[in-house]
């Protein structure tokens, strides 16, 4: 390989982009694209790559076919997947053993391998093309879509899809004020949670007198179950870096910092490589492209505390102080890192910037709702058929996301609730399924957008148990400074715990409501301010379930262990053995096609049999014995 040329002018950058675009168009070689983000690699994507390489060599096609190892394509369920170009095929759950078949059948004989195609779990229909798969059909992947087109370790791949074209436009033709105006026209709002207008934030920082100025990319992503930032940083690091370069120019910053959690080694690796590459090409450093704009980027690894994702705590931890939020105002845009004006934005926010500057703010503003523009990436997890990263225009309804894209609830079970916004988000019931989601509508419904986590729950989920789960997370992750948040989350957790154990008292619901209001009102940062959401939203929509636990000592969903007993219903049991196999404690007796029986003495109430039975023959019953004992006391 020859050493990369340092680009010295904006013109040179434009030419480099054009050259790479042409190269890619002219390249008529078939391409096998393997998704190998952290997710794909965990399912053996790299072994698939190796096997494909060997198979190509064997077939003497290794010079004639290209293998592109990309980041994640978002469809977790189908990982690892292989896209075959120009055949336009989508092969899912590929095993290294399939490599020879793919090469011999598809590449050599142009035949489709039916067994590797996506099959709809409900209708059983297969879909050969990515676009025909319901999971992708309703999405609008303007941010995440490029992941499938590039090898994240190759800057040329990014150039070939027009990457850094927006930067060339900005540096060549625009003033910083014009860039900010464009972002304002687009109506872009922060994707890290609060939805603050990005353009306004930039303007605030630009107008500050203090120098130097900094920008920060927040890649702390501490919400359990959220991974869109990881996927973008891993799969398309240059997209984020281009956004930061544009932002740095607009604000007048001299340095950018990427604060990324240490648990994301692949993201760290790809971003580090990308930054190195930018320095080599002269797109980072002093006097970039001869425009007088000097800017560099460094990477700081975070230790992974959830609260360190809060902007003031994040800045404190970059400064080497305790990761604890502080009073805002002053906002970071006025006094941030080292007391200097600092713009901090989320990974996805930065990822939207090149799109806006490339296609124009007016184009971007056409996507979404009146107050929330563009698309949002959600991580759709939980009791859902199609687990994965979903990018949709703002204003899409929950029903479209969960049922059309997500393919509904597995095992034919019923939808009960969806939890949006991470640990301090809220649980929304069936009646909110037709809610078009944006920042305002979610907040009004006692939930939040947060960073875009979406956990789907079926009718085997107990809402009291869910509230308990999230409160446990929050009491652990609170920095512990505010009495409201430290003691409040702990006390709410204690109350919910006693309710779930059948020890709830009349008056507990009112106490929870009163406490929740004070926690929300009195806390300093958004962790505390939103910490009551799990309680407030479940109380708002599922109060009856709390009452059942308190008054009838009953867990309607059959989850809270102290309140249930598992039994087999003789008339429903088919004797399939599934429960017996699932039981970790050997307490189920029965032989094939005979009614099974649970030994109550030995049962540890893990619920594995209840989950395993496909005939609804295992019942989670209210445990009479417990109720009677409580009554005696």
């Amino acid at each position: 390989m020859k050493a990369p040329v340092k680009l010295k002018t904006v013109k040179a950058l434009e030419q480099a982009v054009e050259a790479q675009k042409k190269l890619r168009q002219a390249d008529k070689k078939p391409v096998l694209t393997v998704s190998a983000g952290t997710c794909g690699q965990a399912r053996g994507a790299l072994k698939v790559v190796e096997a494909l390489q060997t198979a190509l060599k064997k077939a003497k096609l290794d010079k004639k076919v290209k293998i592109r190892v990309t980041g994640c394509h978002g469809f977790c369920e189908a990982e690892p997947n292989v896209l075959v170009h120009p055949h336009d095929l989508f092969y899912q759950k590929v095993d290294p053993a399939n490599a020879d078949t793919i090469v011999l059948e598809t590449l050599k004989k142009n035949r489709t391998i039916k067994a590797l195609l996506y099959k709809d779990p409900v209708t059983g229909k297969t879909a050969p093309r990515e676009k025909a798969i319901p999971f992708y059909k309703k999405q609008r992947r303007v941010v995440l879509g490029d992941n499938a087109l590039i090898d994240p370790t190759q800057i040329d791949d990014y150039l070939a899809i027009g990457g850094y074209g927006a930067l060339a436009k900005v540096l060549g033709k625009m003033t910083p004020e014009a860039v900010i105006a464009e972002v304002k026209t687009a109506g872009l709002r922060g994707r890290g949670g609060a939805g603050f207008p990005t353009g306004v934030k930039w303007e605030m920082a630009r107008s500050q007198k203090g120098t130097p100025k900094y920008i920060i990319c927040n890649a702390d992503e501490g919400d359990p179950g959220a991974y869109m930032d990881r996927s973008l940083l891993e799969g398309n690091p240059h997209r984020v870096l281009e956004g930061m370069l544009i932002g740095g120019f607009a604000i007048g910053a001299c340095e950018g910092i990427i604060f990324v959690r240490d648990e994301y080694p692949l993201a760290v690796k790809h971003v580090s490589l990308a930054v190195e590459e930018l320095r080599k090409r002269g797109l980072l450093g002093s006097d970039i492209l001869g425009t007088g704009f000097s800017f560099d980027i460094r990477i700081v690894k975070g230790a992974g505390a959830f609260v360190c994702g809060e902007e003031t705590a994040l800045i404190a931890s970059i400064e080497g102080l305790v990761g604890e939020p502080r009073q805002r105002p002053p906002f970071p845009a006025e006094k941030g890192l080292n007391g200097k004006p600092t713009v901090i934005n989320n990974v996805e926010t930065w990822g939207n910037v090149p799109l806006i500057l490339g296609k124009g703010g007016a184009w971007y503003a056409k996507i979404g709702t009146e107050k929330s523009k563009g698309t949002k990436i959600f991580s759709l997890v939980g009791k859902i058929n199609n687990t994965g990263l979903v990018e949709v225009p703002m204003g899409t309804t929950l029903r479209e996301i969960i049922f059309d894209i997500g393919g509904g609830i597995p095992g034919g079970r019923k939808f009960k609730a969806v939890q949006t916004g991470g640990p301090s988000g809220g649980c929304l019931p069936t009646s909110k399924l037709d809610l078009p989601i944006d920042y305002e509508s979610l907040t009004a419904a006692s939930a939040i957008m947060g960073s875009g986590g979406m956990i789907v729950m079926d009718d085997k989920t107990c809402m009291v148990d869910i509230a308990k789960y999230f409160l446990n997370f929050l009491r652990d992750e609170s920095c512990g400074k505010c009495v409201s948040c430290r003691e409040g989350t702990q006390r709410m957790y204690e109350i919910v715990t006693r309710i779930s154990e059948g020890k709830g008292k009349v008056g507990d619901i009112e106490l929870l409501e009163e406490l929740a209001a004070a926690v929300k009102d009195a806390s300093m940062c958004n962790l505390g301010i939103t910490a009551a959401n799990p309680i407030l939203s479940t109380l708002r929509y599922f109060k009856r379930e709390y009452e059942a636990h308190i008054k009838e000592k009953r867990c309607p969903a059959g989850v809270c262990k102290s309140l249930i007993r598992f039994t087999v219903l003789p008339d429903k049991c088919t004797g399939c053995l599934a429960c017996k196999r699932a039981c970790p404690n050997d307490c189920i007796h029965g032989t094939l096609r005979e009614v099974h029986n649970i030994d109550q003495e030995k049962c540890i109430k893990c619920g594995a049999c209840y989950e395993a039975c496909r005939f609804e023959a295992v019942e989670a019953q209210r445990d009479e014995a417990i109720v009677i004992l409580e009554g005696v006391k």
Binding site: V307, G480, R486, M524
Partner: protein, 227 residues
Amino acid sequence: MIALKLNGLEVQTEKGWTLLDTARFFGLEIPTLCHMDGLTPWGGCRLCVVEIGEGPRAKLVSSCTYPVEEGLVVHTDTKRVIAARRMMIELMLSTAPMSKEIQDLASRFGVTRQRFPPRNEECVYCGRCIRMCDEQMDARAIGFQYRGYKKKIGTPFDIRSEECRLCGACMYVCPACAARCGGPNADTDICNACLQVEPTCLEKYGELTCWMYDAGRCGTCVQEKKS
């Protein structure tokens, strides 16, 4: 000079002041616990909350940390403020029921119930000792450890600190170190030895309106608090 509206009155205040500084300058009393003159404001106890803004955007902020802003509308004693303060007191009381300072606060704010199981700790995590040791004694011998409900005060590695000069300043400022007075209900979670009354205006107007401030202290309007 910065102009803001404090409990309905236009007042002039200084750049760099906090809302607490301003309220105190005009003779309004706001309860504080983690705040202490001479130490940097920290904002942990949330007792000093006041309501800022109007309408649906109104919110509570800690006055000891919030800087004055031109045109800000501030109310120091609304119903929402008092409810939050009372809950903070109830929460701290359940953490450290033996603290005199907190028992006194409970009496002053009419906290007559204590609905959480007491933990009988000897600390309410106000951080006064840590800041005292660091900022005034220049010793930095103690600090917070862990976070959330596991937070505690300690020396590095939990061994006797070389830095500590045994000056005793940390104990001097600690609100949880002084034992409560042992008044009429010395064995209960809340002794309620002192003033146990509620001003009538709070019920009626949703805000303390006493023009002499020090609300309810004069006793002319108060009613016995129903516990």
